[in-house]
Amino acid sequence: MNTNKVIQVKELTKVFGDFTAVNAITFDVEKGEIFGFLGANGAGKTTAMKMLIGISNPTSGKATVAGFDVFTNAEDIKKNIGYMSQKFALYDDLTVKENITFFGGIYGLSRKRIKEKAAILIKELGLENVANKLVGSLPLGWKQKLSFSVSLIHDPKIVFLDEPTGGVDPITRRQFWELIYKASHQGITVFVTTHYMDEAEYCDRVSIMVNGKIEALDTPKKLKEQFKVDTMNDVFLKLARG
C-alpha cells in the first residue's frame, strides 16, 4: 500500500432499497491534500462521506481511510479522523468551553490535555470573550470555526468537512479557509464539500459527482482546461445537469 494515499476508494457503492445513492466511485487522496468533493444536491456526497468515516456500511466496493478498512475497522477510523457534519455538530445549550471539554472527553483525551487544548483553541479562534457563553448564542460563522477546531481536537490525520461554510458570511468564510489551509500546512488531509465555487479554487484537487458517480477529477486548473471554461462555476454548470 502506498502510505502517502491516506484515502483509497475503489468502486465504493451504497444502495438504499432500489436506489443507488453512490455508484462505484473510485479515487485516492494524498496526505496533506485539500480535496474538494463537489456535486449537485443529492449527488451522493454526504452518503459517500458517511461510508468513509465509518458510520455507514457500504453496500459493496473497497475503501481504506488512514490505513484502516471501512468494512472491518470502522472503529479505528472514527478515532483517527475528524468530522464536521452538514448540520451543525456542537451542542447549542453548552458553553464554548463545555463543548470542547465534552468532545475532548469523547475522544479520550486526558483532563490535563483537554484543558491545554481548550486554552489553545479559544485563543487561536479569538473566542476569549465568549468562552463561557452558550454556543447557541454565537453567530453561525463562529460556531462553524469552533466546530472545525473541535473536530481537530484529537489530532486526527484526516478531517472530513461536509459543507462547513454553507450560509456563512463572506469574511468568516475566508477566515474558515485560512483554518483549512493552516491544517493542511501541518500535514492534515482535508476532505471537504462545498457549493461555493470560489472555494473549489482553493482545493488542490476536486472531484465532481453526478447522480452517484464521479464524473470528473483533477486540479481546478486542469478541469477548467479540460472543459474549456474560465471558472469552476462553469465547469460545474457543464457537468451537473449531465
Binding site: 456535486g39 443529492g42 453567530p139 450560509g167 463572506p170 457549493h195 460545474f236
Partner: protein
C-alpha cells in the same frame, strides 16, 4: 408599496436585534436583504410574517398591518424560513399536499408556479422528507411556500446549501415569479445573488448600512482593487497580509483581491516584495469591485 417598514426596533433579552429600521419594497420588486448571520434578517422576516411582534415601529405587508391584520397577511404571503419547516416523516408529495390543503388550494391549481423546481425532486416524491439531501429539502420547502400563489414571498436564505446549477435555475424562477406580479423579499449569503436583485439593503448588527441598486452600491466602492495571483495561494495570502501597506486582502477564487492604503500605490513595488517572499508567477492586475468587496469593506 407592497412592504412598508417604519422605525422598527426589536430587542431580545440583551441583544438589540433590529435598531430603528425603515425601508419600503415596491409592488413587484425583487428586493434583497444582504448581511451576515446575526444581522437581524430573520428577526425582520418574522416580524413581517406576523410571527413576532416588534418593540417599536409599524410595518405593513400587501396593505395589511402586521399587528391588526395579521390574519390577512398569513393568507396572502408565502414564507420560507431559513430552518426547515418540513414534516420529516411525510413524503415529498405529502408535504406539498399538506401546505396546499391548509391554504385551501391544490397542487394542480398552481403547479406551473413550482414546476421548474419541483421536477427536480419529483422523481423522489414518495421519499420521506427526512431522507432527502440538504439541498433537496431546501427545494421542497420553497415549493411549499409557493403552492398557494402568495402576493408577497418571503425567502430567508432559500439557496443556502443549494448547488450552483440549481441556484441559477432558482433565480431564473424568481425572475419569472416576479413577472407574475409577486413581490419578493429574499435574504442570501451569496453575494453573486445580490447582484440579481432590483435593489438591496446591506444589513449588519441590526442596522441598515446602505440601500440601493446593486450597480449603484458597487460604484460606492472607491479604492482601486487589484487581482493578485501567484504560484502558491496560501503563501500569497500570508505575504500580502504581512505587507505593511495593505488595506484589505481577500481570496477570491483563483485570485486575491488586494487594496493598498497609499494613494500612490505602485504594483511593481508589490511585485518585488512578493518575489522576496519566494513567490513566482506573480500577476497583479486592476479589477472592478463586486458586491462582495463592497460588503466586506462596509462590514470591516
Amino acid at each position: 408599496m407592497s412592504i412598508k417598514i417604519a422605525n422598527i426596533s426589536k430587542s431580545y433579552k440583551k441583544v438589540n436585534a433590529l435598531k430603528n429600521i425603515s425601508f419600503e419594497v415596491k409592488s413587484g420588486e425583487l428586493f434583497g436583504l444582504i448581511g451576515p448571520d446575526g444581522a437581524g434578517k430573520t428577526t425582520l422576516f418574522r416580524i413581517l410574517t406576523t410571527l413576532l411582534i416588534a418593540n417599536e415601529g409599524v410595518a405593513s405587508v400587501a396593505g395589511f398591518d402586521v399587528i391588526t391584520d395579521y390574519k390577512s397577511i398569513r393568507k396572502n404571503v408565502g414564507y420560507m424560513p431559513g430552518k426547515f419547516s418540513l414534516y420529516q416523516d411525510l413524503t415529498v408529495e405529502e408535504n406539498l399536499d399538506f401546505f396546499a390543503t391548509i391554504f385551501g388550494t391544490t397542487i394542480e391549481e398552481n403547479y406551473d408556479l413550482i414546476k421548474d423546481i419541483y421536477i427536480q425532486i419529483e422523481p423522489f416524491k414518495n421519499r420521506r422528507a427526512g431522507k432527502l439531501s440538504g439541498g433537496m429539502k431546501q427545494k421542497l420547502a420553497l415549493c411549499c411556500a409557493l403552492i398557494h400563489k402568495p402576493k408577497v414571498l418571503f425567502l430567508d436564505e432559500p439557496t443556502t446549501g443549494v448547488d450552483p446549477v440549481s441556484r441559477k435555475e432558482f433565480w431564473e424562477m424568481l425572475k419569472r415569479l416576479q413577472q407574475k406580479g409577486i413581490t419578493i423579499l429574499v435574504s442570501t449569503p451569496y453575494m453573486d445573488e445580490a447582484a440579481l436583485c432590483d435593489r438591496i439593503a446591506l444589513i449588519q448588527g441590526g442596522k441598515i448600512l446602505e440601500i440601493d441598486t446593486p450597480a449603484a452600491i458597487v460604484k460606492h466602492y472607491l479604492k482601486p482593487i487589484y487581482n493578485v495571483s501567484a504560484n502558491n495561494m496560501y503563501q500569497l495570502v500570508n505575504s500580502l497580509k504581512a505587507y505593511e501597506y495593505n488595506h484589505s486582502v481577500y481570496p477570491f477564487g483563483e485570485f486575491v483581491h488586494y487594496t493598498d492604503r497609499r494613494s500612490d500605490f505602485n504594483p511593481a513595488e508589490l511585485k518585488v516584495y512578493l518575489e522576496s517572499k519566494k513567490l513566482s508567477n506573480i500577476t497583479i492586475e486592476k479589477t472592478v469591485a463586486t458586491i462582495e468587496d463592497t460588503f466586506m469593506e462596509l462590514a470591516k
